[in-house]
C-alpha cells in the first residue's frame, strides 16, 4: 500500500547533477535512512519523492501510482524538515491543525485530532504557545505531531534532529523509533549523522555524489562495507586505513605492517588498502604485533582513544577501555582482530580479497 519505488531517478540543476540515477525499493512500513556527506543528493532525492522537486528523468511510485504528475499535497505523505519549518505566526495548535484546515476538516474533528496527535507526542500543554516559545525538543515534537495528524502513509524526514543538542538527539531517536512502530507507516529519513542511521534504520541507504553506494541493514553496512567510502563514512573515530600492496608471498605489506592473508586470493603486486576499525585494534603484550609509540591519548570517559605511531604516514587509532593503563610516549605493540580486517582495491576503492 505505501510501497515506494524510485526508478532511474535523475535530477540536474543546470550543469550540476544533484542525483545521478537512483533506483530503490522501499517496502511498506519500512524505516529507511538515507545517509551521505553534505551535497550528495539526499535532500534532492527526498524532494523528488515529495514532489517539491520535479525529476529530470525517472519515475517515482508511491503505493501503486506513478506520482510524478501529482502535487506534493496529493501524494499522501508527511514531511519533517531540517529546520522544522514550523509556522512562527501560528500557535502550536494551529500548526498541527494546518493540514486539516487545508482539507476543510470540520472544526470539531480538527480539535479532536489535534488533541490526539498532541497527546501522542506529549505536547498537549503547549497547544496555545507559539513555536518560538518552545524548547528545541518540544518544537521537534510539534513538527512530528503536525505530520502525524493527517495520518499519511509515508513519512519523509530531512535531518529533523540536526538542530538539537547531543543529549536531546539521543532522546528523540528513541521517540522516533517508537512512533514508527506505533504508526506502521513507511519512513524515509535523511541524515548525515551515522549514529542516527545506525540506531534507527531497518535499512540504510548510503549515498555519495548522487548515487547509491550501498543498501543494507545497519550492522552489515558497518561491518561489511561495500567500498572504502562507506567504510570511512561510518564509525567515530573513522576506520583506520593502511595503504599497501600484496607482497610476493601473498601477504599484505605496508611500511611497518605485514599481515598474512591466508586463504584469500591474492594477486601479488596489486595495490590494496587495509581497513580496520579502532575497536578492533588491540594493544598486545611484547612479542606479537607491530611496534608503535603512543603519540596522543584522547580520553572519552568510557573509553580512550590511543594514537599509535607505527612509522606509516598516519597514526593508527585504537579504542581501548578507559581503565587501560596507557600513557603518551609508551612503546606498545598492536595487532588487528583478523576476522575484522577488510581490504579495498587500491584504485577503485571497492572491496577486495573477500
Amino acid at each position: 500500500m505505501a510501497r515506494i519505488v524510485l526508478r532511474g531517478l535523475v535530477k540536474t540543476f543546470g550543469r550540476i547533477t544533484a542525483v545521478a540515477g537512483v533506483d530503490l525499493e522501499i517496502g511498506d512500513g519500512e524505516f529507511v535512512v538515507l545517509v551521505g556527506p553534505s551535497g550528495c543528493g539526499k535532500t534532492t532525492t527526498l524532494n523528488m519523492l515529495s514532489g517539491l522537486d520535479t525529476p529530470t528523468s525517472g519515475e517515482v511510485v508511491i503505493g501503486d501510482r506513478v506520482v510524478n504528475e501529482l502535487e506534493p499535497g496529493e501524494r499522501d505523505l508527511g514531511m519533517v524538515f531540517q529546520d522544522l519549518a514550523l509556522f512562527p505566526h501560528l500557535t502550536v495548535f494551529e500548526n498541527i491543525a494546518f493540514g486539516l484546515r487545508v482539507k476543510r476538516v470540520p472544526d470539531a474533528a480538527v480539535r479532536a485530532r489535534v488533541r490526539e496527535a498532541a497527546e501522542a507526542m506529549r505536547i498537549a500543554p503547549l497547544l496555545d504557545k507559539r513555536p518560538a516559545q518552545c524548547s528545541g525538543g518540544e518544537a521537534q515534537r510539534v513538527a512530528l505531531a503536525r505530520t502525524i495528524v493527517t495520518k499519511p502513509a509515508v513519512f519523509l524526514m530531512d535531518e529533523p534532529l540536526s538542530s538539537l543538542d547531543a543529549k536531546l538527539r539521543v532522546e528523540m531517536r528513541t521517540e522516533l523509533k517508537r512512533l514508527h512502530r506505533s504508526l506502521g507507516a513507511t519512513f524515509v529519513y535523511v541524515t548525515h549523522d551515522q549514529a542516527e542511521a545506525m540506531t534507527m534504520a531497518d535499512r540504510i541507504v548510503v549515498m555519495d555524489r548522487g548515487r547509491v553506494q550501498q543498501v543494507g541493514p545497519p550492522l552489515s553496512v558497518y561491518s561489511d562495507p561495500a567500498n572504502r567510502f562507506v567504510a570511512g563514512f561510518f564509525g567515530v573515530p573513522a576506520m583506520n586505513f593502511v595503504d599497501g600492496e600484496v607482497g610476493a608471498g601473498g601477504q599484505f605489506q605496508a611500511p611497518g605492517i605485514t599481515l598474512e592473508l591466508g586463504a584469500r586470493a591474492p594477486v601479488p603486486g596489486s595495490r590494496v588498502a587495509l581497513g580496520v576499525r579502532p575497536e578492533h585494534v588491540r594493544l598486545a603484550g611484547d612479542g606479537a604485533g607491530w611496534p608503535a609509540a603512543v603519540s596522543l591519548l584522547e580520553p572519552l570517559g568510557d573509553e580512550t582513544l590511543v594514537f599509535l605511531d607505527y612509522g606509516g604516514p598516519a597514526s593508527v587509532v585504537a579504542k581501548v577501555d578507559a581503565e587501560a593503563k596507557v600513557a603518551v610516549g609508551d612503546r606498545r605493540r598492536f595487532t588487528f582482530r583478523p576476522d575484522r580486517v577488510v581490504f579495498f582495491d587500491g584504485a577503485t576503492g571497492e572491496r577486495a580479497l573477500r
Binding site: 520535479t54 525529476p55 501510482r65 506513478v66 510524478n68 504528475e69 501529482l70 502535487e71
Partner: protein, 327 residues
Amino acid sequence: MADAHAPTRTAAVPAPTRPPRRIAAWLAQERVFRLVPFVLVEGLFLLLLAIPFGLTVYISLLKWRASRPFEQAHFEGLGNYADVLADAEFWWALGRTFYFAAVAVSLELLIGFVLAMLVARTVRGTRVYTTVFLVPMMVVPVVVGYNFSMIYVDSGPLNQLVAPVAALLGFDPRIRWLSHPIAAQWAIILADVWQWTSLTFLIFLSGFSALPRPLVNAARVMGASPWQIFWRVQLPLLKPVIVIAVVVRSMEALKIFDQSVLLTFGGPGNSTQTVAFYLWRQVWQFNKFSFGAAASMLLLVIFAALIYAGIYLLVRQRSVALAEGRG
C-alpha cells in the same frame, strides 16, 4: 508542478485521475502563477507610463504652444531640442539642481551616517533618539515648505537665534533667507537636509544594526581602536548600504520641486530654480508644451545616464556582497 521534462507514465501503473482544473487551479500552476503579477505590473507600466512617454516624444517633435489649439500645431522636427539646448536657463536650472542635489545629499549622507553611528553606539535612549530623528521624514513636504518659510522670515525665529552671533560679527541679524540669492539656495538645501537626513539616518541605522556584532568584537580583541574599527571594519561592510542611500536620495533630490516652489518660487530671480521647477514654468506658466516635452526628453536622457550609473553600482555591490558570502 507539471514540467516539460516529466517522463511518460509506464503502462503498468494506472494513470492518476485528476479533478478537472478550474481557472483558479490553472492560475495556481507555477508557470502561470509566476507570471501573473509580472504581467499585471508590466501592463500597468505600459498603460500608464509607456503610452504617455510615447506621447511626450510625439509632442516634442511638434511646434505647439498651448496658447494655440492643438489642431494648429505643426511638425517641427528636432527644433525644440535645439531650442532647449540653446536655452541658458535650462542649463542653469540643471546646474542648480545638480548643485542642490550634490550639496544636500552629501550633507544628508554625512549627518545621517554620523547620527546612525552615534545611535548605534549608544546604549541608553536609542529608542527616543530614533523616534525623534525619524519625525521629519513623516512630515508632508508642503508642510515642511511653509514651516520653513515661517522660520526663515527675516523677523523669524531663525534670525532671532542667529542674532547674538550676528551682533558679535557686526552684521545685520535680519538675514534675508528667502530673498538673498545665496541665502535662498541654502534655505532650500537646509530644508531638504532637515527633512531627508531622517531617511539616510534610517537606512544607515538599519545597516549598523545589521552589522554582525562579533566582527566588531573580534576587531576590539585584536586591539583596534574605535576609529580603526570604524574605518577598517564597519565602513567597508556598510558600503552596500551607503550605495543604496546615495542612489535613493540622489534619485529623489534630482526631482526637487516642492521646496523651490513653496519657499522661493525659484527666486530671487532664478537663483533657486530647479530643473523640475523650470519645466513646470515652461509648461504651465508659459504654455510651451512642445518645448517642455523636448526638455523633458532631454532631462530623461541625462537622468537615464545617472540611473544606469546608480543601478550599475547597486548591482555590483550586490555581487560583491554575494562573493563575500553576504546577501
